[in-house]
């Protein structure tokens, strides 16, 4: 498949650019942060739904647009450029994907419409430790009669405080990974929140003997790990798309600053040392563009290389966003470390995205293992 976006995808992207410039520019990020770290603007969410962004990856049989992840990736990239805050990643990329990839038809029928129309939102409850390790799950799901009892504590749940239901990764008594849909109002659930470096609010949720009907088990027997793996791959690639947007924007702003800022009587973009560093960044970003589109297409094509491409994308973008945000901070000089300009927002948000769903070293290791060395 050609590594370019289609005309339709390009139209979607252009409409996203225009929409976000109008409705969710970077200034909105600052306003939400200054408003006691507000998670997102409900009005914007309604508009995103109207734009159809919540339906892009939903199959037509559930009235979705079936436009694919390559399309969604274009939107996420544009959102990355503007640091747009909205529960699209949590509820759609993580939440809806969990359902569409599962074989639980009842749950799909019951929830997908509501996820699409934005009236309900999912959050994904996986992490239990301060470091990412999806194989080490202590949360248990014990079965009795037609019911599971979930116990454990989950952290780093994106948009967890405002979710209607959680997708919970737990171990059943056969020591298998399984995924459950647990409504937030269920008895035994308690929620606390922390604000992270990116001014985002992340939830920790305690499940204390929470009863879940068997019908809410999303994964079929023996397939939980595969389902989880599919979601994680999708998450990594979609996050990479968002990071690509951030990297591009930070780079563009930095190049613009190099052309404008004067020191020692010359524009700093004339200094060769900075020129070469800019050219090196440019090269790395060219590579990032390729791995992101390749990864997005791989989700849509159900490629056999998806594991590898997901780690490739997450590692490459993680490393590049670190390089580019650090260089951007340095090249902006003193003004860059003040809260008055936006460049620091990207720097801080980048550190969070680098870590989410596995950092550089996690995915470098995974890539090596997948290649058997």
């Amino acid at each position: 498949m050609a590594l370019i976006i289609t005309e339709e995808q390009k139209l979607l992207r252009d409409s996203a650019t225009e929409f976000l410039a109008m409705n969710a520019p970077i200034e909105q990020f600052r306003e939400l942060r200054d408003d006691n770290y507000r998670a997102f603007d409900e009005g914007l969410w309604t508009k995103l739904v109207e734009m159809g962004w919540t339906a892009l990856t939903i199959p037509e049989e559930f009235d979705g647009l079936e436009f694919g992840y390559t399309g969604l990736g274009q939107v996420l990239e544009e959102m990355g450029k503007n640091l747009t805050k909205a529960p699209l990643f949590s509820s759609i990329v993580l939440g809806a994907t969990t359902l569409t990839e599962s074989s639980n038809q009842e749950l799909k029928a019951a929830w997908l419409t509501h996820l699409m129309d934005g009236t309900k939102r999912f959050a994904f409850a996986l992490d239990e430790q301060t470091y990412f390790d999806p194989t080490s799950i202590a949360t248990t799901a014990k079965k009795a009669n037609n019911q599971y009892t979930l116990s454990g504590k989950k952290t780093m749940i994106i948009d967890g405080a405002s979710a209607d239901a959680f997708v919970v990764v737990a171990k059943t008594e056969d020591n298998e990974i399984n995924l459950f849909l647990v409504e937030a109002k269920t008895a035994g659930i308690s929620i606390s929140t922390d604000v992270l470096l990116d001014a985002g609010t992340y939830a920790s949720v305690t499940f204390d003997q929470v009863k879940v009907s068997e019908a809410n088990r999303i994964s079929t027997a023996g397939q939980g790990s595969n389902l989880l793996n599919q979601i994680l791959n999708t998450a990594c690639i979609c996050l990479s798309a968002e990071m690509l947007g951030m990297v591009s924007e930070v780079f563009d702003q930095t190049i613009a600053y190099l052309k404008e800022r004067e020191q020692f009587g010359k524009r700093i973009g004339t200094y060769q040392a900075l020129q070469h560093r800019a050219a090196i960044m440019f090269s790395e970003i060219e590579l990032c563009k390729s791995v992101v589109i390749k990864g997005l297409q791989a989700i849509d094509e159900k490629s056999e290389d998806l594991d590898q491409l997901a780690s490739l994308a997450k590692a490459k973008l993680g490393k590049t966003i670190k390089l580019v945000t650090n260089e951007a901070m340095q090249m902006h000089g003193g003004i860059g470390v003040t809260d008055d300009v936006n460049i620091g927002f990207y720097f801080k948000r980048a550190r969070v995205l680098q870590r989410l769903f596995g950092d550089y070293s996690y995915h470098l290791d995974r890539f090596a293992r997948l290649n058997k060395y």
């Binding site: 780093m156 922390d194 020191q263």
Partner: protein, 397 residues
């Protein structure tokens, strides 16, 4: 002084040891944790505890606020050897500095070198007694790395200068009593030749300040505005239009401080933090990539410490290490930023906490963000590399 024998020094050491044990309150022997733990003197500073006040007072009476300055300025008159011993003994039992002061570390050395007799008598005693809190007015919004491009002007109005312009990155300008400033006094001259060094009372009419918020949150930095401020002519230090000489002298000084030279290292080792936060197997950190990064940082930390020692030792034999301050500033700050980023990485999601009950974690994250300024303030890494290539390696322009 020069005839002081080894046994004299030995006696000085035991006497100093005894005196510190007797006079330094226990609570003043712990590392300062927050701003209130530091006493800065001046009209806007208050003691945060009786112990802090007692410790300051005892040291003031002993003339040990600035032990190595001349007694006529309220210093202790100690020889370098004695001062060294005092510093060592204070570090040994962990005494806090009784006074934190840019007057001591920055303005003082410049006044010693460049001020006239009257100016020394007027300003130095108020530093040693903690009466004046000084801040520094060098950088300007449009003259960052290019310090000499500054535009704040001081016009000659006969008996006074009229100062207009603004400064940025003035630490604690909102609290300080006085500011030492670089101002432009000749707009015709080439840019390095029209600068003067001026002392300005922050209470003067027309002076105002605005705090600067950083990516790490609140900061001591301010912008300082001068709107037609009258400054008496006797506040000019050194020669008119030759302030750049003083600036260079102070910058070399500052670079060494920011590079971490001479500072005691009380950091917890990075690998200890990692072992507390990351999975390990048989005592070996499981994440081999971060483990390598930790080893690399710790190796470079160790070798950098050795280098500070080596160059200090060489300097004692008369080797001129002046130009190396750029190397110290460059390497020390780059290493510090890399270390903070790594610490944030190895503490996993804790290393991302911005607002949380886990105060230690929040402090790590904010320190990490703050560290991003290290490679910029006091001359960017790029400026230092330029100085190394030109002044040490003599590469052509």
């Amino acid at each position: 002084m020069e005839t002081m024998t080894k046994s004299d020094l030995k006696e000085f050491r035991s006497e100093t040891k005894r005196w510190l044990e007797e006079n330094c309150p226990t609570s003043m022997r712990t590392p300062p944790k927050e701003f209130a733990d530091l006493y800065w003197g001046g009209r806007n500073s208050t003691f945060s505890s009786e112990d802090q006040k007692n410790w300051f007072t005892k040291m003031l009476e002993k003339k040990w606020i600035v032990p190595y300055w001349d007694t006529q300025y309220g210093g202790g008159g100690l020889s370098p050897e004695e001062n060294n011993i005092l510093t060592q003994e204070m570090i040994r039992i962990g005494c806090r500095k009784p006074l934190f002061s840019f007057g001591i570390s920055m303005l003082g050395p410049a006044l010693h070198q460049f001020a006239n007799k009257e100016q020394k008598m007027r300003f130095l005693p108020d530093i040693t007694s903690g009466k004046t809190w000084w801040c520094q007015g060098y950088s300007e919004p449009n003259a960052g790395s290019d310090l000499a491009g500054l535009q704040t002007k001081a016009e000659d109005k006969g008996d006074h200068y009229l100062v207009s312009g603004s400064k940025v990155w003035t630490s604690y300008a909102d609290k300080a009593d006085w500011i030492f400033c670089l101002v432009r006094t000749d707009f015709e001259a080439t840019k390095h030749n029209g600068i003067s060094f001026l002392l300005i009372d922050m209470k003067s009419a027309g002076v105002s300040t605005r705090p600067i918020k950083l990516i790490s949150g609140k900061s001591p930095f301010c912008e300082t505005f001068f709107d037609g401020v009258k400054v008496p002519k006797e506040n000019l230090i050194g020669t008119l239009n030759d302030g750049w000489t003083i600036a260079k002298y102070l910058l070399t000084h500052e670079r060494q401080m920011i590079g971490g030279v001479g500072e005691t290292d009380v950091r917890k080792a990075v690998h200890e933090i990692a072992l507390e936060n990351m999975p390990s197997k048989d005592g070996i950190l499981s994440d081999s990539i971060l483990r390598s990064e930790i080893a690399e940082i710790e190796m470079n930390d160790a070798v950098f410490e050795m280098t500070i020692q080596r160059i200090t030792d060489e300097a004692k034999t008369g080797v001129n290490a002046g130009a190396l301050s750029s190397f110290f500033k460059y390497y020390g700050t780059e290493q510090n930023v890399a270390r903070m980023e790594l610490i944030s990485s190895i503490t996993g999601t804790n290393g991302l906490l911005w607002e949380s009950d886990n105060k230690d974690a929040v402090s790590v994250v904010r320190t990490f963000c703050r560290s991003k300024g290290n490679t910029i303030e006091g001359g960017t890494s790029e400026v230092q590399l330029g100085i190394i290539s030109k002044r040490i390696l003599n590469l052509p322009s």
